[in-house]
């Protein structure tokens, strides 16, 4: 028996950027890993990350992975239905940012074997929990938990919930990464139905921005990243809090921060 849609999610949805705004449009600051359940290995990857990496041609058009793409711009959703039975076969999402498209299979098909290709969008299957569309995604390429060098591994599994309230859509994303997270990472994003919405193309062409020796990868050797203190000093955030970890996700951590010494030179 094929799944039948409980609600119709088709149409253009405009992103509301108020939640986590600095993280999303302006972009996260260097050295801000707070609120992310990362382990020590991921912290070293993050502190080794050099923003110049994304000047390399092969990184310039790297798309946001599906578990991060919800943070940006508008989306279009549409359905594939079997012509004869009108059963729902798949739901598609087109993101404006980098024009990524993903398919959420609703026909009960299994996920591919572990030796199949991983992609930025991953392989997604969905089911209805009442009026909530719940999606499970595997086969993701390595991506990022925050676009300042915090990695999310290719072994992560993502669970999403699409919840429609009239013309509002809440999109909840739960990332389980057995490699780099010690607890699941939760995100929620809000969208508003846009009856006249259109989504523009998003071409991306890689170019050589900086002449470098072949194969050079910008990165910082351990304990040499000169930018890690800026965020701490500019915002009065203790180093321990800035470096993230599961504890920093919870509201009660604010009380612990209040007891910590502020970084030297804090404004």
């Amino acid at each position: 028996m094929l799944a039948s849609a409980q609600v119709n999610l088709s149409g253009v949805w405009s992103s509301r950027l108020d939640e986590d705004f600095p993280d999303r449009l302006a972009g996260p600051e260097l050295g801000d890993y707070g609120g992310l359940p990362i382990n020590a290995a991921d912290r070293l990857r993050a502190t080794s990350w050099n923003a110049s990496l994304i000047t390399l041609p092969e990184y310039q058009c790297r798309v946001h992975p599906s578990d991060y793409a919800a943070s940006f711009a508008d989306i279009r959703m549409w359905e594939d239905r079997d012509r004869d039975t009108q059963e729902l076969v798949a739901i598609h999402i087109h993101h404006f940012a980098w024009a990524t498209e993903r398919t959420i299979w609703m026909d009960g098909r299994p996920h591919p074997p572990d030796y199949a290709l991983h992609t930025a969008m991953g392989f997604s299957t969905g089911k209805w929990d009442g009026d909530i569309l719940t999606v499970t995604t595997t086969h993701l390429k390595e991506g990022w938990a925050r676009r300042n060098g915090v990695a999310r591994s290719d072994r992560a599994t993502v669970t999403e919930h699409f919840i429609r309230h009239g013309d509002d859509l809440t999109w909840v994303i739960v990332v389980n990464d057995p490699v780099y997270f010690t607890e699941p990472l939760f995100r929620s994003r809000d969208y508003v139905f846009n009856a006249t919405g259109q989504i523009a193309p998003y071409p991306c062409e890689s170019v050589t921005e900086i002449i470098r020796p072949k194969g050079q990868i910008p990165h910082y050797l351990p304990n040499t990243n000169p930018f890690l203190k800026e965020y701490q000093v500019n915002h009065g955030i203790p180093e321990q809090a800035a470096m993230g970890g599961a504890e920093t996700m919870y509201p009660e951590y604010k009380q612990k921060i209040a007891t910590m010494p502020k970084p030297g030179g804090a404004k």
Binding site: A41, E58, V63, L117, I217
Partner: protein, 319 residues
């Protein structure tokens, strides 16, 4: 074509860091996954096998283990009813050449002209085994000495240049030698029309780069090799799609996976290089854990541990 006439006694070519124990293979299944165009990936035990099929027959890249030969042939039959014509070996390790002898015997060469040479009709017996000359040197031995592999497993068609080109099943195939990387005899195989590259162990999604220092492998050769592969790939958008990559071990991949792998290798090389410049000993370098952030991804293979990888990097940078 070079045909080898060296005497040999059966032995075992095993690089301890790679491949499961052949005795555990009875329950191994060979899975067939379409890669792209005329090329498929066979996944079983040992290194992945690439299979290219068409009217001319089948060409395979690497052969896993002899014990799996029947299952490999059955898997090839699922995608082609034509004879196995060519085997290409990416390097000499047992988990990539173990099935050479039985698979070669099951195939047939289209013989004649200089392919037949002095052998006459015998030249058509068995598939051709193509490999870089350094692979042949490591699988054979001079007359009177014990060879590490049986004569029937030896390459029958070797090349000493940077590249050997072949036209088969309507597409150009480049067998490209990448020197002093995983070993001193590595080749990748580029199926140009299908747009698929079989990398051998120049790329895996499961382990740190295995550098067989004793067989001429080096970290800088390895990185150069990976960069050469990246020169060949063309993506559809960003880092994805376009050229498909069949790694030596692990899942079907594309440029994005190889770019991440290149990033990891280069960063670790740079860290160890910095420590070498500072005069640190091997034990000090190991204690500094230059692979710490990648160990949860690549460090779980007990036959090729992070310390073994670091030691190989250190030794080849110190040379």
């Amino acid at each position: 074509m070079k045909t080898l006439f060296l005497a040999a006694v059966f032995g075992a070519a095993t690089f301890a860091q790679e491949g499961p124990v052949p005795g555990n293979l009875a329950n191994t299944e060979i899975h067939v996954l379409p890669a792209q165009g005329n090329v498929y990936m066979l996944v079983g035990a040992g290194g992945n096998i690439a299979v290219q099929v068409g009217h001319d027959g089948a060409l395979i890249v690497d052969t896993q283990y002899a014990q799996l030969a029947d299952k490999i042939l059955a898997a090839i039959k699922k995608v082609s009813d034509r004879p196995l014509r060519y085997i290409v070996n990416t390097h000499y390790h047992a988990d990539h050449i173990g099935g050479n002898e039985p698979l070669r015997k099951a195939g047939a060469t289209i013989a004649g002209g200089n392919v037949a040479g002095d052998l006459g009709a015998a030249a058509s017996e068995g598939a051709q085994i193509i490999a870089h000359d350094n692979v042949a040197k490591r699988m054979t031995a001079p007359t009177g000495q014990q060879a590490p592999t049986p004569t029937g497993a030896w390459p029958t068609d070797t090349f000493i240049d940077d590249e050997k080109k072949l036209w088969f099943n309507g597409e150009g195939i480049e067998i490209i030698h990448l020197p002093n990387a995983h070993t001193d005899g590595d080749s990748i195989v580029f199926f140009r029309r299908s747009d698929v590259i079989a990398t051998g162990d120049l790329f895996t999604t499961t382990d740190y780069p295995v550098i067989d220092v004793a067989a001429g492998g080096t970290i800088n050769g390895f990185i150069n090799g990976v960069n050469r592969i990246l020169d060949l790939v063309i993506t559809v958008y960003g880092q994805e799609g376009g050229t498909m990559i069949i790694p030596g071990h692990g899942r079907l991949s594309d440029a994005g996976d190889l770019i991440n792998y290149r990033e990891m290798i280069t960063i670790i090389r740079d860290r160890v290089q910095d420590m070498v410049k500072k005069g640190m000993t091997l034990e000090q370098v190991k204690a500094a854990k230059p692979t710490f952030d990648y160990d949860p991804l690549y460090g779980s293979n007990p036959r090729w541990t992070p310390d073994m990888f670091v030691e190989a990097v250190y030794k080849t940078l110190k040379k």
